[in-house]
């Protein structure tokens, strides 16, 4: 299916603008020619099979990876040259929780709070909100996967970022856990969000814009309201 022409009129200033974004690993193309604009406060959901370039896109937006061609602007700053201005305003929740297993939840969050120059009281508040207050002084390697993921959520939103980059955020959460973190990473938070998902129905429900990737190339780009689940499912075939 050819990508549809860009149909959304951007009223709010774009939080994320991508133009021909391309990244290779050696000779393998991980991301090619991704162009889109995401208004502030909107949610972009990225669909695509494993290896389609979803995580690569998130890592570029998080300033962890440089693109090879094309431009990326996050909150008005061009990447990678102005990455220093973007860092600290994006929160990344990837497959790796980015916490040390031999430290406790509180120690991990305090470490990141110090790096980000965040008040330590925020750590206590977040521990409470993700339901880890009682286990906060246990080492992370004693946690279940769901608990680690909730801790990772707390870590990602610790510095109150304007942009959230979420890589399958609910994959390892049970319904209760998902409900617990919803106020932090859900649409109600008002943050600009880029989410990757394998779940057509659930993903579309929270998306303003849907992007489908296949082998790094945009195969689908449309307002979520104009896409049905079958089109998403087609990406995986």
């Amino acid at each position: 299916m050819p990508p549809r022409p860009w149909p959304v009129t951007v009223a709010a200033p774009a939080a994320i603008e991508l133009e021909g974004l391309t990244r290779r690993y050696g000779e393998r193309v991980a991301l090619a020619g991704v162009t889109l604009a995401l208004p502030a406060g909107a949610t972009l959901v990225v669909f695509g099979p494993n290896g389609a370039g979803k995580s690569t896109l998130l890592r570029i937006l998080a300033t962890l990876l440089r693109q090879h061609a094309g431009t990326a602007r996050v909150l008005g700053h061009a990447l990678p040259d102005e990455g220093w201005a973007v860092r600290g305003q994006v929160g990344l929740l990837g497959h790796e929780p980015l916490v040390y297993r031999d430290l406790t939840a509180r120690e991990n969050l305090r470490f990141h709070a110090r790096l980000h120059g965040v008040d330590l009281e925020r750590v206590e508040e977040l521990l409470d909100r993700v339901g880890l207050a009682r286990r906060a002084d246990d080492k992370v390697h004693t946690y279940s996967r769901g608990m680690v993921q909730r801790l990772a959520v707390a870590r990602a939103v610790l510095h109150d970022p304007a942009v959230l980059l979420l890589d399958e955020p609910r994959a390892s959460l049970d319904p209760a856990g998902a409900e617990l973190v919803e106020p932090l990473i859900g649409a109600a938070g008002g943050r600009t969000r880029v989410i990757t998902s394998h779940d057509p129905a659930g993903g579309l429900a929270e998306a303003d814009i849907a992007l489908g990737l296949r082998a790094g190339r945009p195969a689908l780009l449309a307002p979520a309201g104009e896409v049905d689940s079958a089109e998403i499912g087609a990406l995986y075939r």
Binding site: R24, G26, E27, R28, V29, H68
Partner: protein, 246 residues
């Protein structure tokens, strides 16, 4: 990138100068009073060592350029320079060892600071290839190799200084002062050989660069003709690579 240009001229110049240098070393330069005929190896050993070290420094300079520009071609230049210097370096150690055997009766002497520091430098650079080989992502490989090349380049003079100071006494040496103790005719032969070796190095460097960039262009053309996906993956390699698509 046409590295093949002027290659023929350079090859001829290197061949002529080296031939002339060898002729001068054997027939024009006087026989050394103490060491006799075996001293002739000096005309190969020392120029070889100087050119090899120069190549390491050149590799470091190209690595700095690579980190500044992120242009993979500089990484290739640095890689080829270091690779060649390593090969010449093996020659330096072998000729040095033969010379040591002839002059002092031992295959290796530890009180020869130049040779000893060259051994340390050689051991360090010998890790360059394994380091490259054990990083899969070509870009990361290039970046890390450049960091290595710069560090090692800065290490060379520091190492020479430390090894030199560590010698309790200095052995009487022919080439301690490049022109101090050397008769004029020996000097002529030495400098001609030095120029010849430098030309040889430049020729080999250009050949290797021409070969590497040609095979890159070939891959790129193939990819264009048959479509990107059909190009065979490059596989694991210690050599730098350019992207086939730009």
């Amino acid at each position: 990138m046409l590295y093949g240009k002027r290659l023929r001229g350079l090859s001829i110049a290197a061949f002529v100068t080296l031939t002339a240098g060898i002729a001068l070393a054997f027939f024009y330069a006087p026989m050394d009073a103490d060491q006799g005929f075996m001293q002739k190896i000096f005309y190969v050993h020392v120029p070889l060592a100087m050119v090899a070290l120069g190549g390491f420094v050149f590799g470091g300079a190209m690595a700095i350029q690579h980190l500044r520009t992120r242009d993979p071609r500089y990484d290739l230049r640095s890689y080829v320079a270091i690779h060649l210097s390593l090969i010449l370096g093996a020659g330096v150690l072998i000729t040095g060892s033969i010379w040591a055997r002839a002059s002092w009766g031992h295959w290796w002497v530890w009180d020869e600071p130049t040779l000893v520091s060259f051994l340390i430098v050689f051991l360090l650079y010998a890790t360059y290839q394994p380091l490259r080989f054990s990083i899969d992502d070509p870009e990361k490989q290039a970046r890390y190799a450049s960091v290595f090349a710069i560090t090692a380049g800065a290490f060379v003079p520091l190492n020479f200084l430390a090894v030199r100071l560590a010698q309790a006494y200095t052995h009487p040496r022919v080439f301690a002062t490049a022109n101090g103790g050397l008769p004029a005719r020996m000097q002529v032969a030495f400098y001609v050989m030095l120029v010849g070796m430098a030309l040889l190095y430049a020729t080999l460097w250009k050949y290797e660069m021409a070969s590497k960039s040609t095979s890159w262009q070939l891959r790129r053309l193939r990819a264009k003709l048959a479509g990107e996906e059909s190009a065979a993956p490059r596989g694991r390699s210690a050599a730098p690579s350019l992207p086939t698509t730009t």
